[in-house]
């Protein structure tokens, strides 16, 4: 890693932001070091506000924050010059060609016109808009506009890439493509990524570290790899049919079974019950199974746990 | 079934009326409807205070003779000898050799303009009389209200009934209700009509109130005796009919055209050139009939320039019954067309 790991990417100290009198962020304290940080939280938790504050679009009421060691209250311009931002909503200039817009954005970030042109072509190829780069952005489809947004966010070679809901509204193929791109950018090792998304599956594929906000408080800062547990007592089984029969038999062995429809059964194995016995039951009953696995904690469960414990803690 | 129908109609109307009255868009309509009333009322307050002031000045600075006793060419001294000291005097802009003397006898204000010591101009300001005000009112109604106010109000309100919601991408909420499209149409139209009539008739009333307020009871009683109250009632009725007629026209326009501004401009042009059209073409339009309904404006003609009187007077006025029947029939036909259009309306914002 070429990064100075001693310096946090984002450092928040008692960061408070208010809209009018309504507090949106209530004194956040955190030091985030990860190369790819996920920002999660329910609607209205202040995720977007945090991003806007980091970019200097919201006035800070109290406290401060540092991005790569630069104070957001004093060095806004500096921060914006090394941050790439992909906003959540539609953002494009309808009557410009993709290459012209990306180039202009590059120039606004301080690239000389020629360099900006080179970079514009390069990043558009890179995000896969090579064929369409002379077309007007107004004629682009939703997925292409998302890609163009990503292209303009990386055109100036940022050191921190802030992505707000990058996969929103994309169809599955485009979503896969977008995630692969972000993974590639991350693994180039030259960019930190701050990703904000509701789709936990996407966050899971991209991020190492996850920060969870709720009602303007920071309630959890999780290292994903460390948190992913694999509990050997929880078993998921899917069968083609005969779910009830199978569940009955397993209950006979002391399992707690719950069926969630379509032949899906979740079981909690009692102490001492061996997996072999489960297979034995399957073979004996001749149940046509199609899946059998231990349950791993998904990000969703981590998230829900965090929310619950926050409720309890408050 | 009729109970359900009534409930549905009312349900649509309450939502629409609220939308029409309370949204920011409705400010335009209020402005169109109340602008003349506001001006007139403002003027009335100004005028009353001005007259009070003149009266109080006249008590202390009564001129020695009638204000008509001075003539251009008199010297400053002569004027002062005849009328006494002015209650106010003012000098022209720096360098210019003019002096203004003000006199008043309690009702009329006289400004004497001296150029290098001699009367150059006499500016009388007399209180406007009731008939003059009524002429002004009828002019405002004819030239502004009928041709522009109600017209643009109708464009704004009725064209947006459907088109506005299509542009907003909100029409589907209405179409997804278990309501016949015809009922929806009727509800929207009625809501638009009610609010238009309310706003614009209030506008008319305020204009009259603002004007009549200036006069004392005696003058007004004489005026009401002349059964000129009919003029007011006619204005109110014509406003309502105008809303009805233009309303149906622009409901249809809003359903047919993607951009109602263009046809609205075309219709506006057509209505404006109505007086200059050959007699055969005149009846094709609303303004001809609406004007036919207005009380004959023969009294007004002397003081109004010929171009404008041409604009105000319909060439060959239609009979009131014919006019009303025509307007109502055209509206009904257009509403029937609207119903058919509403039935065929599809929600497809993407390609719009």
């Amino acid at each position: 890693m070429p990064f100075d790991s001693a310096q946090p990417v984002i450092e928040l100290s008692r960061l408070t932001v208010r809209f009018g009198t309504r507090p949106i962020l209530k004194g956040l304290d955190a030091r985030l070091y990860g190369t790819s940080i996920g920002l999660l939280g329910p609607n209205g938790a202040g995720k977007s506000t945090l991003i806007h504050t980091l970019l200097g679009m919201c006035p800070v009421a109290e406290g401060t924050a540092k991005v790569m060691g630069h104070d957001i209250r004093k060095e806004q311009r500096r921060i914006r010059s090394f941050v790439g931002y992909m906003p959540e909503g539609d953002a494009y200039i309808a009557d410009m060609s993709a290459v012209a817009m990306v180039r202009m954005m590059g120039e606004l970030s301080g690239l000389p016109p020629e360099a900006a042109l080179e970079r514009a072509h390069e990043v558009l190829f890179y995000v896969g808009l090579g064929e369409a780069r002379y077309r007007r952005l107004g004629t682009f489809s939703q997925g292409m506009r998302q890609l163009a947004k990503l292209a303009q966010a990386v055109v100036h070679g940022p050191r921190l890439l802030i992505l707000d809901e990058p996969t929103n509204g994309l169809d599955p193929a485009a979503r896969t493509r977008m995630i692969r791109l972000i993974q590639q950018i991350r693994s180039s090792g030259k960019v930190h990524i701050l990703l904000c998304s509701h789709l936990l599956a996407d966050v899971e594929q991209i991020c190492q570290e996850v920060v969870i906000l709720k009602d303007g408080w920071l309630i959890a800062d999780v290292d994903l790899d460390a948190q992913r547990r694999c509990d050997r007592r929880f078993l998921d089984v899917e069968v083609w049919d005969g779910a009830d029969q199978f569940a009955g038999a397993m209950a006979g062995l002391g399992c707690t079974c719950s069926s969630s429809g379509q032949g899906r059964i979740s079981m909690i194995l009692p102490e001492g019950l061996h997996l072999q016995q489960v297979y034995q039951t399957i073979v004996d009953l001749d149940v046509p199974i199609r899946r059998l696995s231990y349950r791993t904690d998904s990000l969703e469960q981590i998230f829900l746990r965090a929310m619950e414990s926050a409720d309890g803690g408050l | 079934m009729t109970g359900l129908l009534r409930r549905q109609l009312w349900g649509i109307m309450r939502l629409e009326i609220r939308r029409l009255f309370l949204s920011r868009m409705s400010l335009v309509v209020y402005l169109l409807a109340f602008a003349p009333a506001i001006l007139l009322i403002g003027h009335a307050t100004f005028e009353t205070r001005y007259r009070q002031r003149l009266r109080s000045i006249a008590k202390t600075h009564k001129p020695l003779a009638g204000l008509d006793q001075v003539y251009p060419g008199m010297s400053m001294q002569q004027v002062v000898e005849r009328l006494g000291r002015p209650y106010a005097q003012r000098f022209g802009r720096r360098g210019s050799p003019t002096v203004f003397y003000q006199y008043t006898d309690g009702t009329t204000n006289l400004t004497v303009v001296f150029m290098q010591g001699y009367v150059w101009r006499l500016l009388y300001r007399e209180p406007t009389s009731l008939p003059e005000y009524l002429r002004l009112l009828s002019g405002i109604f004819n030239l502004y209200y009928l041709r522009l106010g109600i017209f643009f109000g109708a464009v704004w309100v009725f064209a947006s009934l459907f088109r506005g919601q299509i542009l907003d991408k909100t029409i589907h909420y209405y179409l997804l209700c278990p309501v016949r499209r015809e009922v929806l149409m009727a509800g929207k139209y009625l809501a638009g009509l009610l609010s238009m009539i309310l706003v614009f008739d209030l506008g008319v009333l305020f204009q009259w109130i603002g004007t009549l307020w200036l006069f004392d009871k005696a003058t007004l009683a004489g005026y009401l005796d002349q059964s000129s109250l009919r003029q007011l009632l006619t204005c109110v009725a014509v406003t309502a009919l105008g809303c009805l007629g233009y309303g149906s026209v622009f409901t249809a326009v809003g359903l047919i055209f993607r951009n109602p501004i263009v046809p609205a401009a075309a219709i506006l042009a057509w209505e404006q050139i109505n007086p200059f059209l050959p007699a055969a073409l005149k009846p094709l339009g609303m303004i001809h009939y609406l004007q036919s309904l207005l009380p004959s404006s023969a009294k007004l003609d002397q003081q109004i320039p010929p171009m404008i009187s041409l604009l105000i007077r319909p060439g060959e006025p239609a009979r009131p019954t014919v006019a009303v029947i025509w307007i109502v029939t055209v509206s009904l036909v257009l509403l029937a067309v609207c119903c058919v259009l509403a039935r065929r309306l599809q929600v497809n914002y993407a390609t719009d």
Binding site: P42, G169, A174 | -
Partner: protein, 313 residues
Amino acid sequence: MSHDLVVLEDVCRFYGEVLGVNHINLSIGPGITSLVGPNGSGKTTLLSLIAGLIRPSKGRISVLGYRPDQPQQLMRILGYATQFDSFPMGLTGLGLIYSLLRMSGYPHSDCRKMANQALEQVGLVQDSHRRIGAYSKGMKQRLKLACAIAHQPQVLLLDEPLNGLDPLIRATIIQMLRRLGREGRHVIISSHVLNEVEMISDQVVLLSGGYVAAEGPIHTVRTEIKDQPMEFLIQCDKPRLLACSIFQHDHVVEARLLPEDQGLLVKTRDANQFCRTICRLALGQVQIHGIIPTDDNVRSIYEYLVGNQEASK
């Protein structure tokens, strides 16, 4: 015409020269049905056709026996949450639903009750008196849902209902949809998020380029795709040994060892038979602690049936 099915017979719809949907034949029963497909494959068109917001160029549609061009009857049993994030101006959340119910002809007290119920179901009661203009994207999304379910329709059409919702609310909404599905209502959802589709839907309709590419329960659809052998990830302690024994069977066409003992990838032509075999082998000397189908999901079906066209674009 069947009275508990949503039936489309040879339905076509064109917008000028642009294709909306083409020759759709579907009959959708109770339960949760998901429409899946790339952008522009006609999902929204299909939903709007069923709701009668647009008319088919050709073909017939019947929703539980009602025709879409009779809104006064159809809309009593149908609710539609569209993809548009727009609302009539100047209303509160409660006001909107209340007004819409009033418009449908319910009396005042019923409207209040029904509106509150609907808002409660989507968890918006607290914000029901705020103006919609001040709602966040997720709240708007939920409000649309509430509008659609307020009159307790038998048929519920939802266009991207989970878009922009946070995971917590997503979970509650999914629960609600499941409940509606269990109650025997027709819930038709269009969605882009395939793992959610997989979690909630009883059956999928896969659209591509305006045509139906596949329909039915997910696993049935998967087995119908004969030219793609099914793939399983077997997690075990002795992958090499297992690979040797597994190759004895005819239906196994390929086995691949993953690096770092992550397991063994096996492709088979007969999934059912394969699972039986594995279970039997598990009783032997190999400790198998996971049999995970890697392509028996909507994503794989999607990729097999639609993905190729995407790649060529």
